[in-house]
């Protein structure tokens, strides 16, 4: 579970991006956050992932205050607790589709990972592309690999930053369905940042970030 308690983020003491945010995401929760560009959505995700510290307030993951953890511990936490899906896919170009999926497992210390990765590629409809490199895949296919990579280690929390932002309408709908199909019957919590109201509507809890303040919708 992630608990954000009154967090504020200010840059250079003048620019307040987030102000007094309270948020809880637990098992099975589906949370979406909408907001205009520059409203602080991605910053909030970075704070929750422990990539940055809030200026005030605390972020607790599984009852651990992130600020009290070392950088290596936070990395460990990210590897075991979070699955990330990014707008720009962020696949690793030297790795094949299967190796990209395996990467999440390797980071959790699972080395016998080929079958799991193949299984996930099958699930996302890319069973025949396991040896293909990212530059040999389309945008939609890359995002499917990214979803498989995020979900394969079975993390308790998925963080998705505009997962369909780089895709056309048809692909976007297909990926949305796939993403939520994959999440079905899983207890993982989801925090998703998006501009797409349709995508946001698929979540049970919806927020809007407005001038740094989190407002329920």
């Amino acid at each position: 579970m992630i608990v954000c308690d009154a967090i504020t983020k200010t840059y250079k003491n003048t620019l307040t991006v987030l102000s007094n945010i309270d948020l809880q995401v637990g098992k099975g929760d589906r949370v979406s956050i909408m907001g205009p560009s520059g409203s602080g959505k991605s910053t909030l995700l970075r704070l929750m992932a422990g990539l940055e510290d809030p200026t005030t307030g605390t972020v607790r993951v599984n009852d651990q205050n992130l600020k009290s953890l070392s950088d290596d511990d936070r990395s460990q936490l990210r590897a075991t607790t979070f699955g990330f899906v990014f707008q720009s896919f962020r696949l690793f170009s030297p790795l094949t589709a299967r190796e990209n999926v395996e990467l999440g497992l390797w980071l959790m210390g699972v080395h016998d990972s080929k079958d799991i990765a193949r299984d996930w590629l099958d699930r996302v409809g890319l069973g025949d592309r396991e040896h293909h490199y990212p530059h040999e895949l389309s945008g939609g296919e890359m995002q499917r690999v990214a979803i498989a990579r995020a979900l394969a280690p079975n993390p308790p929390i998925i963080i998705a930053d505009e997962p369909t932002g780089n895709l056309d309408h048809a692909h976007s709908e297909r990926i949305q369905r796939l993403f939520f199909d994959c999440l079905d019957n899983r207890s993982a919590g989801l925090i998703m940042v998006t501009h797409d109201p349709k995508l946001a509507a698929m979540c049970s809890t919806r927020y809007r970030l407005d001038h740094g303040t989190l407002v329920p919708e």
Binding site: R46, A79, R90
Partner: protein, 828 residues
């Protein structure tokens, strides 16, 4: 659509720090190349202008024995009208107070020098040496160093051998001090007629005899006259080499003033060749580096290029922008390269003039030189950028086409380099072949690495696993890194080996003798041995090789393809003894056996290689007019650093006994007798012997070695500096390329320490393999290079061990210095 050139340059150019680095590397390489060219050309011109007065005549007839009456008659008959002067140079000792000094005696007649001035300070002012030699009785003229160090004054008596003369002048200036000297010690001029009064036997003592000729009409006739003289004297071949105490390459050598240029810079020849080679290699490595970095820049700029093309900027415009950028870089490199090269040539030139002992003016490059070297600069930079542009963006071209373009460009470049350096076609073919082989080796290493990595089971360790995956995939990056860095390291290691060989050759051992005594006459031998019981003494017969396996030496030299026939034609020192001595070991065959009916001969290993001699070859000598034929039955290795009387050729006793001979001896340090006392005793008891002070000689050798060592070190530093800049740029670019993926890995939970480890593994594997392969390639290349040189094959192990460590340290340091660019801020 068009964009302003400036905007396009801003988008596409490489970061300033890379521009600066590559401009420095190329400029420094061009400076070395230009400087070497200016120096070689300028020095030749200066020497050509001064060579007649340096020779002191139009023509010199040089010999190791006095010319016979028949030879003189032949000369007179060939040249009825000409002026003549004679000179002999040999070593002896003088005694001033209690201090004996080894000197170089220059015995001249009244006419010497025919051209140029040998001026002398006398009691009445400065006079030509001819005035003293022709007008004074028992004249002696001494070098200024003798007057200053030993306090000898005008009018003082001076004894040389059994002759005592009067000092009547101190040398003010000599025309030939550097080019015609055995350099045993300071010079003392005496009259030629007084040599016999000194007690020296011109037939036995080692002397360098010269008969100088000034033609009444020298214009345009020198070469024809030399040819006529050679014919009249029965000289076969045209070798005009003269080296120190070994003297002329043939019994008689005829040479004109224009022939002395190569001889003058003989000592610098190897150094000159080394720097010529070094400048070519460094420019080549710099060029490879530039090509590599340009390619990486294109790789980095690919996204921008795609965007520009999407925006409607034609591809040709993009290419023109890259061309403009490389042209701008060329202006800087060519300009600074010419200017720096000229400065480098001036500094080195003045140092060389001082070493040779001639006055030289500023070295001025010709217009042709400036145009040629500028063209080389532009071809280097623009050509490389052009090839990179072609290879980067002609995706439809096959790998063979790309390889052909690369190979053709490189061949053109090397041809231009060798053309400027004045090398032969053979050297060009060897150079290009060697280079391609070296590149092929590194390319092969890359293929092997890829083969191994793709078949290697991935390890459990995630950093190592990812490092291997990255290495496996980043093909072009890996290949170019391996070739470029491999070539740079190979150059650095070859230089280090060269220096090691120089040190091994010239550094004297600890327990060396202190004096080397030559020209001990047969009637002096017993007395000498009685006086110096601890000395090592050996007979010495001077002879020349007439035939090898019944083939005349000149034909043999041609048939066997001997590189330097001087070693075949020169006067040989042949000795005889029954056993081997300290520092010798038999490499082939066996030492003399009484059962063998042939006259056996042992020959030194490197000398045998130089003359292409092997076991059972028969060699016929002309020993003072008498023939001696011996068969090679052993080839031995000699440790020359012992400074014992070692010889290239040893004849089985007693077959050398009937020939006219002297003895040479080495006197070790004596416990109760200071060196000065030994020299004094020698001068008194044996006034006609020639003595070499080993300490002084080894100091001279070490001094020379120091010059060469410094030059080689400068070369190594040059290469290393270029290599380090290149490495920094490469690692910097690699780090930039790795930053994005490092950031992603960090996001999804890979600890920073693991990311560092992954990068270090990647660098470590590449560096380790490059270092090991460079070590092997440099060792083989050096073995091939040194095979044709008299230097021993000695490896310097330090770069082999240190280079990988330094490279890993640089890579690690550089990666960590980039950490701040990709690690997210944790504290705002």
């Amino acid at each position: 659509m068009t964009l302003p050139r400036r905007t396009l340059l801003t988008i596409l150019r490489m970061p300033r720090r890379y521009q600066l680095a590559i401009a420095s590397v190329l400029t420094v390489s061009m400076m070395l190349m230009n400087g070497h060219h200016f120096l070689t050309r300028g020095l030749s011109n200066t020497l050509a202008n001064q060579s007649k007065s340096l020779l002191t005549a139009d023509i010199e007839i040089a010999s190791t024995r006095p010319l016979s009456a028949d030879a003189i008659a032949a000369i007179t008959q060939t040249l009825p009208a000409h002026d003549v002067a004679t000179r002999r140079i040999f070593s002896s000792m003088i005694q001033t107070g209690d201090t004996p000094t080894i000197i170089e005696v220059v015995a001249v007649d009244n006419a010497y020098p025919l051209v140029g001035d040998c001026l002398v300070h006398t009691a009445t002012g400065v006079s030509p040496i001819q005035t003293i030699m022709s007008q004074q009785p028992n004249p002696i003229v001494i070098a200024a160093a003798l007057a200053e160090v030993h306090g000898i004054n005008l009018g003082d008596p001076l004894t040389i051998g059994r002759f005592t003369g009067t000092v009547q002048g101190i040398v003010a200036s000599e025309p030939d001090i550097r080019i015609q000297s055995v350099a045993y010690g300071p010079r003392v001029y005496v009259h030629a007629d007084d040599v016999l009064r000194m007690g020296f036997d011109p037939a036995l003592s080692r002397m360098y005899h010269s008969r100088f000729i000034r033609l009444s009409d020298p214009a345009g006739a020198i070469d024809a006259t030399i040819a006529r003289l050679q014919a009249a004297l029965g000289i076969v071949g045209n070798s005009k080499t003269i080296q120190g105490s070994y003297g002329p390459s043939q019994p008689i050598v005829v040479r004109g003033y224009r022939d002395i240029n190569p001889a003058m810079i003989q000592g610098f020849y190897q150094l000159n060749r080394f720097f010529g080679w070094l400048s070519v290699m460094l420019l080549l490595v710099s060029c490879l580096a530039f090509g590599y970095i340009s390619w990486l820049q294109r790789y980095r700029a690919q996204a921008s290029i795609d965007q520009l093309r999407h925006l409607g900027v034609p591809y040709a415009t993009i290419q023109r922008t890259f061309f403009a950028a490389s042209l701008r870089l060329s202006h800087i490199i060519v300009g600074l390269g010419l200017l720096g090269g000229w400065g480098l040539a001036q500094i080195t030139g003045q140092m060389m003039y001082a070493a040779i002992g001639i006055s030289g003016s500023w070295l001025m490059p010709t217009l042709v030189d400036l145009i040629t070297l500028s063209a080389l600069g532009y071809v280097t930079v623009v050509g490389t950028a052009g090839i990179v542009g072609y290879v980067s963006h002609h995706s439809d071209a096959s790998p063979r086409q790309k390889q052909a373009i690369l190979g053709g460009g490189m061949a053109l470049f090397i041809a231009l380099l060798w053309g400027i350096g004045g090398g032969s076609i053979l050297e060009f073919v060897w150079g290009l072949g060697g280079l391609l082989v070296a590149i092929a080796v590194f390319y092969g290493l890359d293929r092997l690495l890829r083969y191994v990595l793709t078949r290697l089971p991935l390890p459990q360790s995630l950093p190592l696993r990812l490092a291997i995956i990255y290495l496996r995939q980043a093909q072009a990056l890996r290949t170019t890194s391996i070739i470029t860095l491999g070539m740079a390291l190979t150059v650095i290691m070859v230089i280090a080996h060269y220096k090691a060989s120089l040190l091994a050759e010239f550094t004297p051992k600890n327990s060396i003798p202190q004096l080397f005594v030559m020209d001990i006459y047969p009637d002096q031998k017993e007395a000498f041995m009685a006086m110096f019981t601890e000395s090592t003494i050996a007979p010495l017969v001077r002879g020349r090789i007439r035939t090898i396996n019944d083939v005349p030496a000149t034909d043999y030299a041609q048939n066997a393809g001997i590189d330097d026939p001087y070693f075949l034609f020169r006067e040989q020192n042949v000795s005889s003894r029954a056993t081997t001595q300290v520092g010798e070991s038999i490499r082939e065959g066996q030492w003399f056996t009484p059962e063998d009916p042939r006259i056996e001969m042992s020959i030194e290993e490197r000398f045998a290689n130089q003359l292409a001699l092997s076991l059972n070859d028969t060699v016929t000598f002309d020993m003072m007019g008498q023939p001696l034929t011996a068969t090679i039955t052993s080839i031995r290795r000699v440790d020359w650093g012992t400074f014992l009387p070692n010889f290239f050729m040893i004849i089985e006793p007693p077959y050398l006994a009937p020939f006219p001979q002297t003895h040479v001896a080495a006197i070790p340090p004596l416990a109760n007798q200071p060196l000065a006392d030994i020299k004094r005793d020698l001068a008194r008891a044996f006034p006609t012997v020639a003595v070499i002070d080993i300490a002084q000689t080894s100091q001279k050798i070490m001094g020379f070695l120091q010059i060469i060592g410094t030059a080689v070190t400068v070369g190594a530093l040059y290469a290393t500096a270029i290599g380090v800049v290149l490495l920094l740029v490469v690692f910097s670019l690699l780090s930039d390329l790795r930053q994005a993926s490092a950031m992603q890995l960090y996001w999804i939970g890979m600890p920073i320490s693991h990311i560092h480890r992954m990068i270090h593994y990647e660098h470590g594997i590449i560096i380790g393999l490059i270092s090991v392969t460079s070590a092997i390639v440099s060792t083989i290349s050096y073995a091939l290079l040194i095979a044709r040189s008299p230097l021993p094959f000695t490896l310097n192990p330090w770069p082999l061990f240190l280079t990988p460590l330094v490279l890993v340290a640089i890579a690690s340091r550089h990666w960590r210095s980039h950490q701040q660019h990709w690690t997210p801020q944790t504290d705002v």
